[in-house]
Amino acid sequence: MTTTAPPRVRIDGLTMTYRPKKRAEVLALDGVDVSIAANSFVSVIGPSGCGKSTLLKVISKVVGFTDGRVEIDGVPIAQADLTGRLSFMFQQPLLLPWRTVLDNVLLPVQILRRRVRPEDRDRALRLLDLVGLGSSLQMLPHQLSGGMKQRVALARALVTEPEILLMDEPFGAVDEITRETLQVELLRIWQETRTTIVLVTHHVEEAVLLSDRVIVMSARPGRVVVDQEIDLPRPRDESVRETEAFHGLVDRLRAQLRPDTREAQQ
């Protein structure tokens, strides 16, 4: 981690309250401090409703916040122009059913730049190759499996070469085996592109396998409980799952999650 350059994302004392219709105010995030270095992979885990997704929405300016400071590359988020610098990937692939695989990947380019240049097309083709869909360019979404659709969504998220990729449970809706394959692919692709990634997940193993750091949040109100460095060697591949160090980290994070789940159930 560098000390001179400002971190890509810096969050200081982030507090967020919201008021559901005609009900009492809810404290969603309570004094969250997170700092995310450029080109790093950070995961956020925590029980449901701990404000993980809200955190991503704040970073992407989809929602505002009540108190605290959020900066992107040292610029307060209110002033920062994030168009084209930030990409989102969700649990659902959210593909347009009438567009082919290639045209779905080019959608963000069309919206950002109005026009698809030859180099955009080349980049889309390269990314589709990278996610293993190089021979399915003209297929329609309904012809693809769930895992293939998420691969298209990943290629689409990277086509604008974003500085930050925000992933909200991206593999939450696919089966376990597909999930593991996609994790390994994401690991490989991140090691090639080195985009700053913030991943929200429920899956402790997933977070440890992929991340440089794992942030554990408590149940509502969301607070940072642990900020764990994952010092497993890079470049990694799935064989890291077999190592002692991997299991040690997984167990330690699991233990941090447990008291919160019990609290949340009371």
């Binding site: 992407s60 989809v62 168009t83 084209g84 930030l86 989102f88 969700f90 659902q92 959210l94 347009l96 059913p97 009438w98 567009r99 959608l107 963000p108 069309q110 919206i111 950002l112 329609l140 309904h142």
Partner: protein, 253 residues
Amino acid sequence: MSWKPFALTLGLLVAVELAVRVFGVPAYLVPPPTEVAVELVERWDYFAANIPATLWETWAGFLIALVVGVALAVPIALTRFGDQAIMPILVATQSVPKTALAPIFVIWFGFGFTPKIVVAALLAFFPIVVNTVRGLRSVDPEIVQYLRTLGAHPWDILRRLRFPTSLPYLFAGMKVSISLAIVGAIVGEFIGADEGLGHVILRAINNFDTGTMFAALLVVSVIGVLSYGVIALIEKRVLSWQPDDVSAAAGGA
């Protein structure tokens, strides 16, 4: 299309023929289908000469309804003003019998094609509005949110998401509308025309020439089926991205 509707029609015609002949129904009340067929063949030139007017009024009215209907559907679907101010007015106008308005259109627009086209358009546009509004609203809100994270303008969302999503609904509306446009054209011709199949029907009734009238009705219904077929064909082309079972369920197959 399969042979089944033809077989069923033929069966019904045979039944009518038998009933008319067995019970001795006078031909000016119900002409035997064979006589209608002979009429159709013998006076084909007369019918054929009156097809273009009706066809033109129908399709011109339909296309106006399509353009106006879609143009109205956008503000109704997407703005509070449209939903709360425009839509109730449209619903109110739908309760007015357009047929009753036809004479005033003749006074306004004369005896040419215009009043018939206006009646056809008025009858045809409402199903297009209702279906398109439904379609424009039936987008996945998560995709809308995704597009917003990309910095998409409302226009992008309309053009790239809402409009394509609404197309299957729009085509469903068009299939209802085209039949209504034919009804509108014929009714318009009833009020005052010197050509068109509505004119043929009216003149035949005035002469108690029920054979000619039924023959003209047959021509009208064939125009209806073929016009519907044209729309179904375009639909199949435009919505070729839909999985087969969906387009079949929507009536595309």
